[in-house]
């Protein structure tokens, strides 16, 4: 149990006893004020070790074409434009991001191993190729576990949902507590988080009466069948109660607290509102929020095997351009950029050559991604691709290196290995040839 959990458990027992006594005004407080005080006074878990405290991942499902976005080449129909960093040019499809290039860096020499969806998701999120003998924990789960939760807010959230590929974003051997909490599309009209709000007919006091009844009904069995599992349920119920009752948590998910202008700035669509809620969550204490970009109207996701140019120009990139630039500005404005890493990536890039359907197919050999914030240097280009964006020309970067860079910024030791229950050690920053990845020195 982390120190934070232990503290909370200790606090929880005493609070529970107080409530059992039946006198909420024991301290002369009512319950909600008491909880609010707790929230304000609560420590933030383990002391911050790195500059970054959290990360937001814009997951561009399907794999964006790198030559049409971050790494403009002659074999793209689109022209490069200047950015607010001299010497750096990106695709003309990203004019707004171009004005924030000082906050963002580009890796143009990503090299990964899998070229089909699913397995490529797995590889991008765990650093390991799928293995039938074992399931690997994802980047978000590892970060949530290593840093621990803050202020009762779920540490790992995924919005809108993981769909068919969600299993690659999970914790597996690390335990279900580090699985992402999937929340629905915040741009939808009846947006509400399941399980986070008591039914209208149940007050807090009623809930306590229920729990007292449960104590009575289960007493005999618990007495006879001592088990650690039973005790852990009590702890989880207490944590759940805190989460449900905590105004901070409820507010973190409440977009009505944001101005209409800001909601417009992000864009009134799934990706935009999801990114806005991600910012709120990070502000409230989440550690890793994944915004899933996979369900664009009329276009599905970034997997443009046909009509690549039209899809990128008209549908896919403009939303990314708007969301990413707004997110960076918003984080900076609130003083959160230095403690929040932002990453925009998919599971691979796309082929340098256009196929007979006017599309581009999967291409893991050399592709690009963008990252910044959280102490990661912005306005830097790492690595170089050849003249067509087909192969790495200089300074290859692996998934292990990417992970090591993120871990270093977050204050996590990237050399760590977990012991999988089947008895095999696994690296948290797994690079090629069974080596540990190295943080990118140009960035962190």
């Amino acid at each position: 149990m982390s120190r934070n959990d232990a503290n909370r458990a200790a606090a929880a027992w005493s609070r529970r006893d107080i409530l059992r006594v039946g006198s909420l005004s024991f301290f002369g407080l009512d319950l909600s004020r008491y909880l609010r005080l707790q929230h304000l006074m609560a420590d933030t878990g383990s002391a911050p070790r790195g500059k970054a405290q959290a990360a937001i991942l814009l997951w561009l499902n399907g794999g964006p074409s790198h030559v049409d976005t971050w790494d403009p080449k002659r074999n793209s129909s689109f022209k490069p434009i200047a950015t607010n960093v001299p010497g750096i040019r990106i695709s003309e499809l990203l004019p707004r991001v171009a004005r924030h290039m000082d906050k963002l860096s580009l890796i143009r020499s990503m090299h990964t191993l899998e070229n089909n969806h699913g397995i490529a998701h797995h590889y991008a999120m765990t650093g390991h190729r799928p293995n039938p003998a074992m399931k690997f924990p994802s980047l978000g789960s590892i970060i949530s576990k290593e840093l621990g939760a803050r202020l009762s807010v779920p540490p790992y959230v995924m919005v809108p949902d993981g769909n068919w590929f969600g299993e690659h974003f999970r914790a597996h051997m690390l335990g279900a507590s580090y699985d992402p909490m999937e929340i629905p599309d915040p741009s939808a009209k009846n947006f509400k988080i399941p399980d986070l709000r008591l039914p209208d007919s149940i007050s807090v006091e009623r809930l306590q009466q229920r729990r007292a009844m449960a104590g009575l009904v289960d007493a005999l069995y618990r007495e006879q069948m001592h088990s650690a599992e039973h005790a852990s349920l009590d702890v989880f119920q207490q944590q759940a109660l805190e989460m449900i009752l905590s105004p901070a948590v409820r507010e973190a998910f409440d977009l009505s607290k944001e101005t209409e202008q800001l909601k417009d700035a992000y864009g009134r669509n799934t990706v935009g509102q999801s990114a806005l809620i991600a910012r709120r969550l990070v502000e409230a204490g989440s550690r890793f929020v994944t915004v899933v970009d996979r369900n664009r109207p009329e276009s599905g996701d970034w997997d443009s095997h046909a009509n690549n140019d039209k899809r990128h120009r008209d549908v896919l990139v403009p939303v990314l351009d708007q969301v990413l630039s707004t997110l960076l500005a918003d984080l900076e404005q609130r003083g959160l950029l230095s403690s929040t890493i932002v990453i925009a990536m998919g599971e691979f890039g796309r082929t340098p050559d256009i196929n007979p359907n006017g599309g581009r197919d999967h291409w893991p050999q050399c592709w690009s991604l963008a990252l910044g914030g959280g102490g990661i240097r912005g306005g830097t280009i790492v690595g170089e691709s050849d003249e067509r964006g087909a192969y790495v020309k200089d300074r290859m970067v692996t998934i292990g290196d990417l992970f090591a860079t993120l871990y270093k910024a977050l204050g996590i030791d990237w050399h760590r290995e977990y012991m999988h229950p089947i008895g095999r050690p696994l690296k948290i920053a797994n690079s090629l040839d069974d080596k540990t990845g190295q943080p990118i020195q140009e960035l962190v």
Binding site: P132, E167, L198, P199, L220, R222, Q239, D361
Partner: protein
Amino acid sequence: MAACLRAEVPKELLDSFSGSGMVTMRVVLLLLTAMLGSRVCFAEQPAPPRPASFAREIVSILTKQGCNSSSCHGGVKGRGGLKLSLDGLDPREDYKWIVQGGTYQVLSPEALPPITPRVSLQEPENSLLLRKPAMQVVHGGGEIFTPESPDYAAILEWVRGGAAYGEDVQKTLQGIEPSSREIVLGPGHTHSLRVVARFAGGRREDVTREVRYESLDSTVATVEPSGVLKALQKGETAVILRWLGQFAHVRIGVTDQEPASDAELPRNNFIDDHVFARLRRFRIRPSELSSDHEFVRRVCLDLAGTLPPPDRVREFLASKDPKKREKVVEALLNSPEYVEFWSLRFADLFRVRGEYGWILPFWEWVRRNVATDKPYHQVAREAIAVQGYGGASHKYQFGINKPPPIEQMVNETIRVFMGRRLDCAQCHNHPFDRWTQNQYWGLGAFFGRMTNTGWAFDNAVFDDPNGHEVDYVENDPTLRFRPVAHPRTKQPLAAMFMDGTALPEDRRDDPRLALANWVVSHPYFAEAAVNRIWGYFFGRGIVDPVDDFRVVNPPTHPELLAALARDFEQHGYSLKQLMRRIVNSRAYQLSSQTHELNRHDRTNYSHALPRPLEAAVLLDAISQVTGVPEVFDKNPAGKRAIQLRFPAGASFLSVFGRPARDAVPDPGGQLNLRQAMHMLAGTTFNAKLSNEAGRLHRLLQSGASDRQLVEEFYLAALSRFPTEREWAGLQKIFAERPRREAAEDLVWALITAREFAENH
């Protein structure tokens, strides 16, 4: 137990008897010494001097000293460049690495330089093989022995003698046997183990001092290198014996109980014979027989995944029929819920997943197997050898138009049907069990020609003479088929059974059928099958985890396992019959209530172990208690969770850990925060309580008294009546609070209780 006396039977005398004459004379000797009232070990005189052989003397030292253990040079990559085979399984390889030198690489058979021999014939004392373990040069493993020790002398002698490979002792070595397979002793007591090696031709040799001993739990008992066992504190463990690639184990029980003087316990069948005999030997007293209400709830959940309705419980409790338990078992085995529940479990095991259209034939095959009680060896054969469309062919669906990778098929087939986890051996020899990479890929070759064709819902799997279809490579169809190669040696694979025999030429047209026939007739098949089923009913396999049979994970009851396997084979591999045997045994029917003397026993079946209900069963139970069915996405109303073909359509199921069927299911069901949140605030635990169609509303309207209401819900949820103490507490609450609220809270309390969510 007294150490056995060593009679000095001269080796020459024994050797002079050959063939059947030898057996007779040995028997005469045994009878003679038995009449003399002493116990004889067929220990020979120390063998006369003979040249040291690498495979015997040196490998023996390397094993005993732990040099070739998985944490040192026997590990996946070896250490410091030196790789030895784990536990001395491959002495020829070891000889090569020692005598020729070189640094080992995992993924290639090539040795990296420096290629310097680790023995020096010119200056034997300068051999690395001596200097390293004696810490005369830096050695990561520390000082293993001093230059004055007998091991040092033995190695030096061998090098001086030319470092010859010598006799290939592993060719004639058949096994090692401890003098006792099971030892029970008190804390602080000691016992001298004796180990004998058996060679071809009947020769036996005492190898007690050469064997490597490892206690699996050194807080319970420790073993000295001399074989002296010392018991420390109460508990149970096993000692693993290793010598020249052979393994054995001794089960150890440490207890301060007196041997039981109880009268013989009643027994229902052979399962009880084995279980109670062991309890007696280990001096553990079993709990009482379960009460009727414990039994009826447990057996309904275990056979049918369904809670007994209150009326059935009342009926069962009231019945005076002495055979009522057997009759309930038969009724359950023949119920539609039995078919649904076991179809669910086998669908999880065989991983029936995919879009609805695809999976229907697969799911129907699973269900038909259960409904007709198809002999399990036939099920296995069909699952492994299937060709074409339909039925089990969808087992081999992996993404669109691709069979699974060979590794996945080997892992899954062997794990599901033989209970062994070869998995790690795909990249290197298994790090802590005896499987080699060659064995692994020899089995892989049976799948080496699989491919499938057709489109999404209309998929046929078959063996293609071109070879195995590999990962879909964009725009390059020529790369799709290739013959399978061994990943390390890069040689094309030849199909080979686990024991090394090659698939005969005339069977190569249908390699998977040959594999299927071999699997089902192998002894591992029946024992893995009965062990898995046993695990469902007892919460723990005789080998646990149920598909993880390993040298260092021996069965707790080897004779019981063998007896179950034999019974299973004799009854035509009928799963129903196996289940019948299990649930009719007294061992299964013991209460889960413990007493002081057996509270800590978790491996001897002295009492029933509580186990969490599976997600689908739990959801159905909640629906049944509240009387409000769940409505599942894309399914007609009234469908229950255990009837669902595929885990979907209810967030409850994923929150409560229903297997996603992307891997062989592991026992899951660990509580977590999401579940706690759902219990407090989620719909399942709230909306069903006061629903107008539900049981509570009906009871409130019906004019039932408080007591009747409480009893009805207790029977529905826990299959019992409330105790007087519980009723007193509840009565008070009902008096103080509005009736409806108190009743709702009672139902909530019951469906979130551990007593409800566990099978006990």
